[in-house]
Structures are given as structure tokens and as C-alpha cells.
């Protein structure tokens, strides 16, 4: 038994358990806390997949910025434990959960059936000779993807202005 195998199973177990805890927890503050743990463990998964830059960005952007945003809004709302946190209708909920379970089974079956194809595709290395270090990522980001990168900056500016504009709307259905 290799250490990386144990690491994979342990980390995926943590990720899936805390993701489930996010969904079933009654208190949104606990949900945010479990989500932060999920993000950090996913960062470790990226780390063992040797995506070091992505792991760092995951820690900073998700476990840092996005979670702080969520927690700030939660503190603003001062939410107590919710009475009806789940949608009503036992039958419809059963249908929803079971159909998502079927979806997972379908995806897992598709992955299992195409495992030969996947392993074949995985051995097809890229022909450009581009490595997988952070330096290569930066080069690609600033050459091939430069237009998308600049657009992303524009989008973030737009979102910053838009979020302020939306949250400044006074109460009432007609602003």
C-alpha cells in the first residue's frame, strides 16, 4: 500500500463527507465552515495531483476570499437555526435525491465502461512539449489565453460595480 493511495482515499473521504455535511447541516454557519474544510482538502488533492499553483489559488481564493464573503453575509443576516431548511414534499424530495443518485450511477458507469479509452487518452502526451510547471502555466496564460485573461479582468471590474449597485437597492419590489 503506497502512501499516495492512502492519501487519496483519506482526502476523498474527507471531501465527500464534508460536502455532504454542507448540504444536510441545518445551520448555514456550520455549512460555511464545512465548505471551508472541503475547499482546503480539495487544495490538498490538487497538491497530490502536482497542480501546485492551482492548489495555492484554491487556498487563497476559495478558502480565503469566497469563504470570507459568505461568512460576512451570514453575520450580516444573523440567521438562527432554520425551521424549514429543506423544501417541503417528502415525495418530491425523494424523487430529487433518487434522480441525482441515478445520475451519479450513470456517470460512474460511463467512467467504468470507458476506462480503457481514458487510460489510452491519458498516455497521449501533448506534442507541443509544454511542461506542467507553474512557469509553463504562466507562459500559456500570458500568450495563448491573453485575450480571455484580459476579458476576465474586465468581468471582475463589472462584477465589482454590479454587486455594489445591486446591494444598494432599497427594500421594496420596485427600487
Amino acid at each position: 500500500m503506497d502512501i499516495s493511495v492512502l492519501l487519496f482515499y483519506g482526502l476523498s473521504f474527507i471531501v465527500l463527507c464534508f460536502a455532504l455535511a454542507v448540504v444536510v447541516s441545518n445551520n448555514p454557519v456550520y455549512s460555511a465552515f464545512y465548505l471551508a474544510i472541503t475547499m482546503v482538502s480539495l487544495a490538498f488533492v490538487y497538491f497530490i495531483l502536482q497542480a501546485y499553483f492551482i492548489a495555492g489559488v484554491q487556498l487563497i481564493v476559495y478558502a480565503g476570499a469566497v469563504m470570507v464573503l459568505f461568512v460576512m453575509v451570514l453575520m450580516m443576516f444573523d440567521l438562527k437555526k432554520e425551521k424549514d431548511s429543506f423544501s417541503k414534499g417528502r415525495m418530491s424530495n425523494f424523487l430529487k435525491v433518487s434522480s441525482v443518485g441515478w445520475l451519479w450511477g450513470l456517470i460512474a458507469g460511463a467512467i467504468y465502461m470507458s476506462s480503457d479509452l481514458l487510460s489510452m487518452g491519458a498516455t497521449l502526451h501533448n506534442k507541443d512539449g509544454v511542461g506542467t510547471t507553474t512557469k509553463d502555466l504562466a507562459k500559456l496564460l500570458y500568450t495563448d489565453y491573453i485575450f480571455a485573461f484580459e476579458l476576465l479582468g474586465l468581468l471582475l471590474l463589472l462584477i465589482a460595480v454590479g454587486a455594489v449597485a445591486v446591494s444598494r437597492i432599497k427594500g421594496g419590489t420596485h427600487a
Binding site: D2, S12, V23, L49, L69, F70, N126, L140, L141, G172
Partner: protein, 108 residues
């Protein structure tokens, strides 16, 4: 058939199965919960599941392009969370609750 050798050697399939499970958990959250904040968190879970499969493919095919996509997805996810939380704040100002059923009351 399930053999233990395939369980011991971690390949692309294992990561994809975990990613699919994470996506489905997020989907259950979006469908079943009523609190807007928890729904937004579940959407983040789904986006993270997609990121995980991108990184797994990128690692096992030694192709860095997948990681660039993950970078973009993360930025879009942060923007989406910002706008979603702003809308949740407006809902809360009006109704003192962040239930998804109040969203039909929103008008321009």
C-alpha cells in the same frame, strides 16, 4: 469485476468518480435546500467538482491547458458568488429571510 489491484493503483478513474460524487452532492444541495446561501455554497461545490476533474485530466495527460481552465473557472465562480450574495442581501433587506421562494418577488 471489481478487483483490488484497480483499487490500489490510483488512476484517472478514481478522481473522476470522486468528482462525479462531489458534483451530485452539490446538485442535491441545489435541489433540496431552500436557503439561498446554502444553494450558493452547493453551486460552489459543483464548480469545485468540475475543477477536480479538470486537474485530474491535466495531471494524467500531462497537459497544462486544463489548469488554465481551472483558473478561469475559479475566477468566474468568485464573481458568481459575489453577485449571488448581493442579490441575497437585497432579498434579506425586504423579507428578513433568505428563502429561495421569495425570489419570484424580485422586480427590476
Amino acid at each position: 469485476m471489481l478487483n483490488f489491484e484497480s483499487l490500489a493503483a490510483i488512476g484517472l478513474n478514481h478522481y473522476l468518480i470522486v468528482s462525479a460524487a462531489l458534483f451530485c452532492i452539490g446538485m442535491v444541495g441545489v435541489l433540496v435546500r431552500r436557503n439561498v446561501l446554502v444553494i450558493l455554497m452547493s453551486i460552489e461545490l459543483m464548480l469545485n467538482a468540475v475543477n477536480l476533474s479538470f486537474v485530474a485530466f491535466s495531471h494524467f495527460s500531462q497537459n497544462i491547458n486544463g489548469q488554465v481552465m481551472v483558473f478561469f473557472v475559479m475566477t468566474i465562480a468568485a464573481a458568481e458568488a459575489g453577485v449571488g450574495l448581493a442579490i441575497a442581501v437585497t432579498i434579506f433587506k425586504r423579507f428578513k429571510e433568505v428563502n429561495i421562494s421569495f425570489f419570484e418577488q424580485l422586480k427590476g
